[in-house]
């Protein structure tokens, strides 16, 4: 039961990680950019949400709507002002640019919000749970998992079946050829980044409802998102979801072995996948 509980909690934790990972899978799939501010943007959205909720006495759901819209706007600006200038075959400029931006963002947040950890009041839902046999399952983590599943499904369907999705896949294979067929890669890139950061709006709300956020947390979320994408297999949206599950389960089981071993267990499983199946669980060879 102890281990079954660990497994279930791991899957639920994986739901949160999937929300971090989706945006990263999308951006890398299209632009082959790793945006190192990924985690920091999530924290920025979360802290903004917490402050808005406190200032205007908003519940978590209005905050979610605001953050998703705000995320899309931030994504658009990020792409237009920074990423458009550094995207290219050489990964170094985009890495360094987002590295610098991440450092600036973290410290700006530290200055503005101080180093305190904060969280978003979720009302009764944070404590609510129901019982299956002898196991307790929290309502909020279940909502997080369901949201992650719906987001993954919608994103996957968008990529497969819409005009935007086709343009996006075309650009990811060959930007120049896509441009020749009438796709505007700059718009596609902007759209992809906007979606990626908008999804972080969901992650921001759920992270601050389930746990706490502090300005320096971003890099850890970035690493979890990255590990989920690699474990799942690059270029696969459902792969990122699966990778997030594997990471969540590894950490959850690890915590039950030894509290100091939880996060480390996640990293070790990641390295193990890298050693044994470098293309990822769902990646194409």
């Amino acid at each position: 039961m102890h281990w079954l509980d660990g497994l279930i909690q791991g899957v639920l934790l994986g739901g949160l990680y999937a929300q971090y990972a989706l945006g990263m899978a999308l951006m890398f799939g299209v632009m082959r950019i790793v945006n190192l501010t990924h985690g920091d943007l999530m924290i920025l959205l979360a802290l903004t949400g917490i402050s808005l909720a406190a200032r205007f006495a908003l519940g978590p759901w209005p905050v979610l709507v605001i953050l998703v819209v705000l995320g899309a706007i931030i994504g658009l600006l990020l792409q237009r002002l920074v990423l458009d200038r550094v995207v290219g075959s050489d990964p170094l400029p985009s890495l360094i640019a987002t590295f610098g931006l991440s450092m600036a963002l973290q410290n700006a947040m530290l200055q503005f919000w101080s180093a305190d950890t904060r969280s978003l009041g979720a009302g009764g839902i944070a404590q609510a749970s129901f019982q299956i046999g002898s196991l307790f399952v929290g309502v909020l983590p279940l909502i997080v998992l369901l949201t992650a599943t719906v987001l993954t499904g919608s994103l996957d369907a968008t990529l497969r079946h819409t005009r935007f999705g086709r343009a996006l896949r075309a650009s990811s294979v060959d930007v120049e050829a896509a441009a020749m067929t009438g796709v505007n890669p700059k718009n596609v890139y902007a759209g992809a980044t906007a979606i990626a950061v908008a999804i972080l709006g969901f992650a921001a709300v759920f992270q601050s409802m389930r746990a706490t956020v502090a300005p320096a947390d971003g890099p850890f979320q970035l690493i979890y998102a990255f590990e989920a994408v690699i474990i799942g297999g690059m270029g696969s949206i459902w792969g990122a979801f699966l990778g997030a599950m594997v990471l969540g389960i590894s950490q959850s089981i690890g915590f039950r072995i030894d509290p100091g071993f939880g996060i480390l267990a996640g990293h070790l499983v990641f390295l193990l996948v890298l050693a044994l199946r470098p293309q990822g669980l769902m990646g194409k060879v």
Partner: protein
């Protein structure tokens, strides 16, 4: 320094390859005297000055190694603190737990990052560009977390280098200063020798276009591994020297991501792919830290934005700007053909 090469006996006659320049001679003389000055610090500098110079030298060493990785081998790492920490811990274990002379332990300790470099490269070389970078970060996190639960090195509480109480302040200053001069010689001097050698030619080719370099017979994979290994050793040496001066180590300080930030800032602001840039960048960072460090978070925001600005608008950094104005390399690696007129 010119080499005479007979390229074609019935062609334009004997052609000489010139590699040294006047600015290079001046810089070489200045550099040698700087290293001698650093080595002789106990005879002229105060304790505080020695501490500052050690810190500056560690920045230069770590940045010079990062420059080799990112500027030449195309390996962008944001996890160099893994090597800083593992070497520093190895030095503490050897000196404090095994009773090795601490100054000697600094040199022996670089075997730890060398050993760590092998499996990490084996795992990470499968990752593409940006993913390689975050992979190195995961390695550094693994090292930090594993050290935090490793009871042999006192886990999260860290260790103190109590054996240093057996040495007088003068002896300590002398040991640290010698090691510092040695570290500069190995990292900066070593980088320069490497870049001047035929490996340097191969590296420059790999930097410009790995595929084309491979087609010219350069074993790109092996070269990258060698650079990864060399950078691990150099970075580790800096870590061991730094923590020898600190006398105290904890997992968060040893595996501080700030090392990667410093290396990236120094190289990007100074000028990627040049040794001159490393030295200029390290000086800028060092003095900016001294003068503006008191502003805390705001100062780091500016540092971050400056890195962003450099990545977008001035990829060559400060040295790149200087090069456009005056052609006077301190570490000339270019080969100029001189033709003897009959």
């Amino acid at each position: 320094m010119t080499e005479t090469v007979a390229i074609n006996s019935d062609g334009p006659g004997i052609v000489r390859v010139q590699r040294q320049t006047t600015s290079g001679f001046v810089a070489m003389a200045l550099g040698t005297s700087m290293i001698a000055a650093i080595g002789s610090m106990p005879w002229w500098a105060s304790q505080g000055q020695i501490r500052d110079v050690v810190e500056l030298c560690c920045y230069i060493a770590v940045a010079a190694m990062w420059n080799l990785l990112a500027g030449y081998a195309g390996l962008v790492s944001v996890g160099q603190q893994a090597f800083v920490g593992v070497a520093a811990y190895a030095m503490f274990v050897m000196a404090q737990l095994w009773g090795v002379n601490p100054f000697f332990a600094v040199i022996l300790a670089v075997s730890a990052p060398a050993l760590l470099a092998i499996p990490t490269y084996a795992l990470l070389h499968r990752l593409d560009g940006p993913y390689f970078a975050i992979g190195t970060w995961v390695i550094a996190e693994v090292m930090r977390l594993a050290t935090s639960i490793f009871a042999y090195v006192n886990a999260g509480a860290g260790m103190s280098l109590r054996v240093m109480t057996g040495y007088s302040a003068d002896q300590r200053a002398m040991g640290v200063s010698f090691l510092c001069a040695f570290m500069l010689l190995v990292t900066v001097g070593g980088s320069y020798l490497l870049l001047r050698s035929r490996y340097g030619l191969a590296l420059t080719a790999v930097r410009d276009n790995p595929v084309a370099a491979a087609s010219q017979g350069v074993n790109v994979g092996r070269l990258r591994f060698l650079i990864w290994m060399a950078a691990a050793v150099g970075t580790g040496l800096a870590g061991a020297v730094y923590f020898l001066a600190q006398l105290r180590i904890t997992p968060p300080s040893a595996y501080d991501p700030n090392w990667a930030s410093i290396a990236i800032f120094v190289v990007m602001v100074g000028g990627l792919g040049s040794l001159e840039g490393v030295i200029i960048g390290a000086l800028i960072y060092f003095f900016a830290d001294r003068w503006f460090g008191e502003y805390g978070a705001i100062y780091l925001v500016v540092l971050g934005l400056l890195t962003l600005f450099m990545a977008i608008f001035a990829r060559g950094g400060v040295w790149g700007v200087i090069c456009k104005i005056v052609d006077a390399p301190w570490f000339p690696t270019r080969r100029t053909l001189l033709e003897d007129k009959p």
